[in-house]
């Protein structure tokens, strides 16, 4: 028999990564666009100005196209824990299962039902009640995100449990729900959602302004998007930092790897760019740009804080957990962190320049900037992907930090061939859906918003 180049664990990891990253291309847009649509509908409700109704419908259509894929990939996300990671599921189900089940009961059920009411209820419901349905969808999506991040954060920073007969058992639901890691992760993700929603709304508005149609209408949409984007991107820079501190205390290895910090330092400089220095054989970069003391501040909140190095952490982990390599992929972590952080800053700059141009009433005529805003729609997608790569791969070799290793968690009795086939199926499916979704979104983003006196409504 020909030896296989990849193991079942490798393929299961690729499948999980693909599904999670793909799922999270659609989820944050819902988290951000749903409240923005709700705000536009509220503005229409209060002012009776038809322009807001047209914008509500225009962006509402995009929200629905996007929501459908989020639902579809969410099912895969829930099923694949048991399909590919049965040992993990059996081990963590007693803790991890509870927030997942409650998310279905309390979050997703509300979202799905009330979105149906919103789509079809325009004529059936009184205006105020109909407006309430979209707000309920938005709030339920935020609650869903909280419960999912409670589950994920338990894998990063396990709390409120004990291990009984080789299985994790919940001992404190309040500890689980108030996990400091989970709360800061939730704030980080909600802000990411608002950045998705506002940057996409801003980009599409700028695209419409480039075409010089509906200038007044999309000028308004751009303004609303900027009112959200400027503070959201600014606050995210600081929240991202605070999140870094939470990671430092729970997962020192992840921070050390994301900074390619091989040896403990005090104070520590922040490397903006470096060539080399990503492996134990090559710890010193051949070229680097470093700002003194900034890493200390980012990781610990103090300009003279101590950040432990990969080599020191590796020795500690070996003492605690036995032989093995506890260092994640340093090069990938380093660049994921930089891509995410630099795009975060770039998005703030785009939003700030946009706001300044809008104030000067020059937004719709500054064509070079409108093009930048169109391109910047891709930034939140790339940044979120980098963020999840950092979060999940930075935890390796652990699947649950310090409790269970990824290599021990994969389904037993599952052949590499089975996972290979299913991975191929999902990749083909995701690629096809991605293309169709992009074409549909592009088509509807280019349309003129529907006039309000269109026939057909009862």
């Amino acid at each position: 028999m020909i030896p296989l180049l990849v193991s079942a664990v490798d393929l299961a990891r690729i499948q999980f990564a693909t599904t999670s990253i793909y799922h999270f291309l659609f989820v944050p847009l819902t988290l951000g666009l749903a409240p923005l649509v709700a705000v536009m509908q509220t503005l229409w409700f209060r002012s009776r100005d038809d322009a807001w109704l047209r914008l509500t419908r225009f962006f509402g259509t995009l929200l629905l196209i996007n929501f459908a894929i989020g639902v579809a990939t969410g099912l895969v996300q829930e099923f694949q824990f048991g399909m590919d990671w049965s040992v993990y599921s059996n081990y963590v189900g007693g803790v991890f299962g509870a927030p997942l089940a409650i998310e279905g009961l309390a979050g997703f059920m509300v979202e799905a039902t009330f979105l149906g009411l919103w789509i079809f209820g325009w004529n059936q419901l009184p205006r105020g009640l109909h407006l309430a349905t979209i707000w309920i969808v938005a709030l339920a999506s935020w609650l869903s995100a909280y419960l999912i991040l409670v589950a994920n954060s338990w894998m990063q920073h396990p709390v409120g449990y004990e291990v009984v007969n080789g299985k994790a058992q919940l001992t404190s639901v309040s500890a689980l729900l108030t996990n400091s890691f989970g709360i800061i992760a939730w704030i980080h993700v909600i802000l990411a959602g608002l950045i998705f929603g506002s940057m996409v709304m801003f980009g599409i508005s700028c695209w419409q302004l480039l075409r010089e149609r509906n200038v007044e209408l999309f000028g308004r949409a751009a303004k609303l998007a900027l009112i959200v984007a400027v503070p959201a991107t600014l606050i995210q820079l600081s929240v991202g930092n605070r999140f870094g501190e939470a990671v430092t205390s729970a997962q020192g290895m992840k921070i050390a790897a994301s900074e390619a910090q091989w040896n403990t330092c005090e104070p520590c400089g922040f490397s903006i760019f470096q060539i080399g220095g990503f492996s134990q054989q090559d710890e010193t970069p051949s070229f680097s740009i470093t700002i003194p003391r900034v890493l200390s501040w980012m990781a610990t909140g103090s300009f003279s804080g101590k950040v432990e190095g990969l080599n020191q952490l590796q020795r500690q982990e070996r003492r605690s957990y036995g032989r093995g390599n506890y260092i994640p992929d340093v090069r990938l972590m380093y660049w994921s962190m930089r891509v995410m952080a630099m795009l975060g800053v770039a998005m703030f700059l785009v939003a700030a320049v946009g706001a300044w141009l809008h104030r000067k009433r020059k937004l719709h005529t500054t064509r070079w900037f409108l093009w930048i805003a169109v391109v910047a729609m891709s930034f939140p997608y790339i940044a979120a992907t980098a963020g999840w790569i950092l979060t999940e791969m930075g935890r390796q070799p652990w699947i649950v930090q310090n409790l269970l290793k990824t290599s021990d968690a994969v389904s037993t009795g599952l052949s590499t061939a089975t996972i290979a086939v299913s991975l191929t199926v999902f990749l083909l499916l995701y690629a096809t859906l991605g293309v169709v979704d992009f074409v549909l979104m592009r088509h509807f983003a280019r349309l003129d918003p529907p006039p309000v006196d269109q026939p057909g409504g009862a």
Binding site: F67, A68, G82, F108, T113, Q124, D453, A458
Partner: protein, 348 residues
């Protein structure tokens, strides 16, 4: 009854909710290629389940989540063991989900026909595979002493499980037809009633056959006495005979109630046949997963019990209200109203 048993029943209830609700939207999907005569009628059929299919599908999400939380070992063995079947179900459900949202977004004839068939194939395939999967709980699958599934996809198919799959497809088609008789008007309504009358016969035959067969399989493979499993089976059979009557007397409400009860009756018979196990092992019966050897700790069960006690009544209220809001029969006035197109729907 301990909390473990309560959650066994609760998961049965969640599956019942899924079969009752998604059962009719699968049924509408199954009837899409045969019932409507033109594009307007096809749009009306999509429209009849448009506002509710997603909420219906969440019952599956909650059933799976509750299994993960309350019986991690059951979830782990089931989902890894039924890998290929679940992969197929996921693909079918994903394609079906997208058909609702994407079909109306472009008006090419081939595009619309393709998404219509995507919905139908997704509905038939997922109904069939859920029937097969649930029947396997009772009939048994090969498990080793640490409850790991040692078989392959072929082991899931036997005369009994395939019959269960077919029975579910036909019962859902009938359930969809009785739902449509409640939601449509005029000639379209008459044709839906006619198809319900015709479907009632094979649905009754297959439905009564499968619950009777389940009583025997539970006796042979799961060591169950005949009587306790026969109770839900007989009730299901009676309900199916009533469905036969009501689809003929064209009493829409009662016909829909009986086809819904039949879907619940199937789940009730399976779960009664399954108790006190959750996944029977065959041939080595001793390796079966039971309620007690797969349940999680008592505290976690208390936590999800509190959550379920708070949220389940709310779900029943707002989903019930949703059906009330969309109770108006479709036809005539809704000629141009298509699924999800806010431009058509949205005129205030």
């Amino acid at each position: 009854m301990g909390l473990e048993e309560v959650w066994f029943v609760a998961i049965g209830v969640l599956w019942s909710g899924y079969f009752l609700l998604e059962g009719f939207d699968f049924g509408v999907g199954i009837l899409l290629p045969v019932l409507p005569r033109d594009e307007r009628e096809r749009a009306l059929m999509f429209r009849s389940i448009g506002p509710v299919w997603d909420g219906n599908e969440v019952w599956l999400v909650v059933a799976a989540g509750a299994t993960f939380a309350a019986f991690p070992a059951w979830y782990a063995t089931l989902f890894s063991g039924f890998y290929v079947a679940l992969l197929l179900i996921l693909v079918l459900l994903i394609v079906r989900v997208l058909s609702f949202e994407w079909r109306e977004r472009h008006d090419g004839a081939r595009w619309r026909a393709a998404w219509l068939w995507a919905n139908t194939i997704g509905s038939i395939g997922a109904s069939f595979l859920w029937g097969v999967a649930l029947a396997n709980f009772v009939e048994g699958v090969p498990l080793d002493s640490s409850h790991v599934f040692t078989g392959g996809i072929v082991d899931l198919f036997s005369p009994y499980t395939v019959t269960a799959g077919l029975a579910v497809v036909v019962m859902f088609a009938l359930h969809g037809a009785t739902y449509l008789t409640l939601r449509l008007t005029g000639d379209f309504h008459r044709r839906a009633s006619a198809i319900a009358r015709r479907l009632a016969i094979p649905a009754a035959v297959l439905g009564i056959g499968i619950v009777a067969w389940t009583v025997l399989v539970a006796h042979d493979n799961n060591d169950r006495a005949l009587l306790p499993v026969a109770v839900p089976a007989v009730i299901t059979a009676a309900v199916l005979i009533l469905a036969l009557v009501f689809t003929r007397t064209s009493n829409g409400g009662w016909a829909f109630a009986t086809t819904g009860l039949a879907a619940i009756g199937f789940i009730a018979t399976i779960f009664t046949g399954l108790y006190p196990r959750v996944l029977v092992s065959s041939p080595t019966f001793a390796n079966s997963l039971t309620i007690s050897n797969s349940a999680t700790g008592h505290y976690a069960l208390q936590v999800i019990s509190v959550a379920a006690a708070i949220f389940t009544p709310l779900i029943l209220v707002y989903q019930g209200w949703t059906y009330y809001v969309f109770r108006t029969r479709l036809g005539g006035d809704h000629a141009t109203a298509a699924y999800g197109s806010l431009g058509d729907e949205g005129h205030p």
